[in-house]
């Protein structure tokens, strides 16, 4: 992905200066949209954003440095072939803030909520060339379960990454099951959800 702003210089900051907040409502939506639009090449309609943040606001987090939103994670969860599964849809940290663990922190928070909500596993797709993302998810315990041939419209293959939680008795909190029948595979050919992180 092209860096649209040429902001390659790192910003000096202490880890403690970064504030992580859960999605707090309509005022956060433009921040998320701008971040994703700027950093990722795939176009998403406003409906895609709303689909995620309205159904699973608890799985969406933002990272702020002062007033500046520097990173975000957008996810969902629901039934997928008899498994209650979390799905990480978008993860973005703007370039000057990468490499300092912000993406890790954002995604860890989402995964924790998924785990508490009874998810059995978490999945996502990442470009095979996105070494940063692959390393990050590898550290968190994701395996590369499948390779998806020319998954993205730019012709690049993707890995389907999966994180299986240790087995626990099934939870009853299957509260969004009906809403999320859409398989992750079905979005292929239209817009792969690309990931940019670290």
């Amino acid at each position: 992905m092209e860096d649209t702003k040429n902001e390659v210089e790192k910003v000096a900051f202490e880890a403690s200066e970064i504030e992580y907040v859960s999605y707090g409502g309509e005022h956060h939506l433009p921040l998320i949209m701008r971040l994703v639009d700027e950093e990722l090449s795939e176009p998403y309609s406003i409906f895609t954003y709303r689909y995620f943040v309205y159904l699973w606001p608890q799985l969406c987090f933002l990272a702020f440095h002062g007033d500046r939103c520097v990173g975000t994670v957008v996810c969902k969860m629901g039934d997928h072939r008899n498994t209650f599964r979390g799905y990480i849809a978008m993860l973005v940290v703007i370039k000057p803030y990468r490499g300092r663990g912000i993406a890790s922190e954002l995604v860890t928070r989402s995964i924790e909520v998924m785990m508490e909500s009874g998810c059995e596993e978490v999945t996502l797709e990442a470009e095979v060339t996105n070494k940063g993302a692959l390393a990050l998810y590898g550290r968190l315990g994701f395996i590369r379960a499948k390779r998806l041939f020319r998954y993205y419209l730019n012709g690049v293959d993707a890995f389907r990454l999966k994180l299986l939680f240790p087995h626990r008795p099934p939870m009853l909190a299957n509260w969004e099951g009906n809403e999320v029948q859409c398989s992750d595979d079905s979005s292929k050919q239209y817009q792969g959800l690309p990931f940019e992180c670290c």
């Binding site: 309609s45 689909y51 315990g141 041939f149 293959d157 299986l164 859409c182």
Partner: protein, 728 residues
Amino acid sequence: MENEVEKPQQGIEMAETLSIPSGEGSVWTDVSSLIAAACKDLPDGELIHGGNFSLFAAMSALEIMDPKMDSGIDNGRYHSIDEAIENGAAPVPLSFDRTVDALCIIDIMDHLLACEATWHKGHSLAQTVFSCLYLLRLDRTSSHALLHSYCRVVHATCNAIISVVSDARTHEEEDLFTMAYGLPLGGEKDDRCLSNLNAVEETLCRQLRASKALSAKKMAVEDVEPLQTNFDLEEGFCKALLCRLRFRKHFYHLLMCMRRPQGRGFDLARKHISSCLSELERIRISSEFLRLVASKICDDGTLVRTTASGRQPVGFDANVNIRSSAPAPPRAIRTLSWKMALEYFEKLLHDLDIICSFSLDPLLENVLRFTVQFQKLQPDLVARAHLQLLLIQDGKLYGRDPIFAVICRAAALPEAVKDHDMQKNEFVVQLGQFVINLLKILCTNVAWQRRKLGKILQDWRIIYVQLELAFRKELGEFSNMSNDENLSMKMAKYILIWVEEQAYWIASRFLLLGFELDLYSSGEYCMVYWYIYVVLIKLAEKTHFRILASFDTAKRKGKKKRDSLMDLARDYQIPPAVLLLQCYICLADGLTTMLAALRNERKAFLSPGPFNTEHERFIQHFEHLQKACMPDHMSYLSFKESTAQASLSSLATHNHFKDAQRIARELKSSFAHDPDRVAELRHIEQVAEHNSIALNVISRVGALDTTLKISFEFTYHPYFAVAVVKRS
């Protein structure tokens, strides 16, 4: 929105005029104000969430006038093909200056070739080959024999290629390839395109001869109208055009030859491949001439990559067709360069040549090996589709051998049983389908292939159980198996051994492909090699059984039973195929032990994560194998138990790599006639040797030396890593 508000009112009027009566419990009422209020409540970008509004629906929604999403957006250029043509975007002739005309046609040919390669590489036909306005309106070119003949043969070639790929149906993940709706394809009689092409070629030949004669004797020998007006350029132009036309001709012939049943056209196809490659070379050489001419005639300084001359081709508009490229949102396509297109076609031709050179070996084992070797060359979709069409035609191997006969041969049964009634057994029929399915899967791209192989493992396991039950029911207990004279019993026994062997072969391919696809991280290598080890042991065991059975069958033909048993004991040698598997087993065992020892003693290659453990990663990676019980009773616990005590000192006393090296060396003479396997044995030796050395270094320096950096790389073999030891 205002229109929306007015509509219900119209609806009411309509309802009244049509006199639709109010139903039971319902009456017509004016809801305009309600809808108006709802509209006011719902600004742009908001949505009412319905139960059926899925991610798919959200992502399919387009924002009108967003240049990234709206393929119908006015891009400031032509709105239709007709409008483009009316505005002179694709003139016929291309220029009234015949020299410029000839150059422009060559540019079109080159750009079309680049488009065609780009299409083969996975972009839509609409945005590549059919960005050519001349192809979109073929009739318009009929007055221009050269352009017309070229466009027609390209058109015919597209039809032929789409037909091969659609028939093979190996393109599940590459389905954009055959999408051609809205495009002027099919329907036409393509055969005639060759007579057109031949006529044009003949004219060009005469023009070339005339120009040569003229330059030699400085006089006209034939009454031939030259191609263009500049005498000095005539020969160069004729040559540049001839090689381009001839390439198309041979390529089309080649495709037709390859479609003949049972590989009957392969000898001829190979001749066309050879001609195509020569013409491609001539096309490449013509670039120098074309660049020179382009710089003389019309040097505007800008060079494009998609033509030999470097000139922008006339008559292409990728946007005019953008709406036909559904269902994908519009994307700018980067057309391959002309040079890359030449390379693509050379690669395709070499791949097709390998298919045409295949001996149509009737033994399934060899078919599988050929397919696996072929895939190592990373063939693209078109070549893979041709292989698949060769392997399976009319439900038979090569359209020639019935699948039951293939199974019998594979299971080392005598030729005579291929008409046996057993082939009517429903599970045997199903097994035949599985074999066909397996061959098809092996022709798909490796990413998809691995996923499908994982899924069919269970099918093979289940069919084994079903066949065993069916045979028992039909033939009685296998414990009476000493009675091998009973043909049915023998067939049942041999087929079962083979099904198991085949299932383990699939399992091993599934595991090994994980390396090719880069699915394993170094922290997982230990368990992966352990699983490969246990699967290969089973595979070697089953293969050995099957080969022994065939040995037995062969012996029995000529000798009495008592003699044959004695011979068996005397002549017994482990077959080379089993020994080759033994090499892999030693490598896998060695790598498992080395990695386990490094984990146990150096705490290296462990990958702890905050959310799960290695156990979960084991379940995920081997889920398909575990579900199919391959092998039985193998679990994470077995892995932990067999690696818990691994140490570098024990590995030094029993060096598996040395064993692999020794067996590989001994095997070379057995495979002397097979260069692929000789190369494979050399790679095995290299992996073994380098790992032995690495092991020595680590042992000498001491496992606990923290300055030692150890990594694993696939320098000598795609699946078996070598340890690289460095001191930091």
